[in-house]
Amino acid sequence: MNQPAPESDQTLPRVERAVELGVPAAVLWQHLVDGELASFWMGGVMTIEPRLNGRVLLHADDAPVVFGTVEELVSGESITWTWRTRDGEPTQVSIVVEPASDGSILRVTEQLIPYEIIHVPTTLG
C-alpha cells in the first residue's frame, strides 16, 4: 500500500485563504520570506530561512512556539513548510504568490499531515 505524498492528499482537514494586494508580487514575496517583514503580520516574531530545509519559527507572546522546516521553494513564487508546536498537530503550510492586474495575490493552504512525514529540526537555536 503506497502512501500518497502529503501535497497530493486532498482529504485531510485543511484551511485555504487568498488575499489580493496592491503591491507587485516581488514586494509581497519579500514580506513573506524576510523574517523582519513577516513578523509584522504573522502574529509573532517570525524566523524564516528561505531555502530548502531552512528553519521556520514563529514565536508569539500568547501562544506556543511553532517550529518547522522549508520543504519546497520556488523563489518569488511559492514556499511550502511543515511545522508544529511541541504538543500540537503537525501541519503543512503552502503559500503561492502570483501577479494580478492591480498587484498580486497570496494564496495560503494549511493542512494537517500525518505525523511520520514531518521533519522537525533537532535544534531550535
Binding site: D9, T11, V19, E110, L112
Partner: protein, 98 residues
C-alpha cells in the same frame, strides 16, 4: 492514538467513510476494499482507540458504527487555523495597501 493521528492515514479514512455508511464488520469491509481483513482490523482498532467507531459484539460478530463526536476536534482545528490566517492576511493587507 488521537483523532488527528487516526485520520492521518488515507486507507484508515476510507475505512471510516465506509463505516459511516452504516454499521459493518471487518469481514464485510475487507470484501469491499483492496486490503486484507487483518489490515482492516488494524485500522478499526486505531479508529476505536481514537473514539471514532463504536464496537458492538453480537454472538461471534463485531459490528462497527461511526462515533462522530471526536470529529468536532477537527472542526475546532479548522476554525482556529482559519481565524489565525484571517488575522494575518488582514494585517498584511492593511500594511501593504496603505
Amino acid at each position: 492514538m488521537d483523532v488527528f493521528a487516526a485520520l492521518g492515514d488515507p486507507t484508515r479514512r476510507e475505512v471510516l467513510r465506509r463505516v459511516a455508511g452504516g454499521p459493518t464488520t471487518a469481514t464485510e469491509l475487507a470484501l469491499q476494499m483492496p486490503i486484507s481483513r487483518q489490515a482492516v482490523s488494524k485500522h478499526l482498532s486505531a479508529l476505536d482507540e481514537a473514539g471514532l467507531v463504536e464496537r458492538t459484539v453480537s454472538g461471534r460478530e463485531v459490528r462497527y458504527s461511526l462515533r462522530a463526536e471526536p470529529l468536532s476536534d477537527v472542526v475546532g482545528w479548522v476554525n482556529e487555523v482559519g481565524n489565525a490566517w484571517d488575522q494575518r492576511l488582514a494585517k498584511l493587507k492593511s500594511r501593504l495597501d496603505r
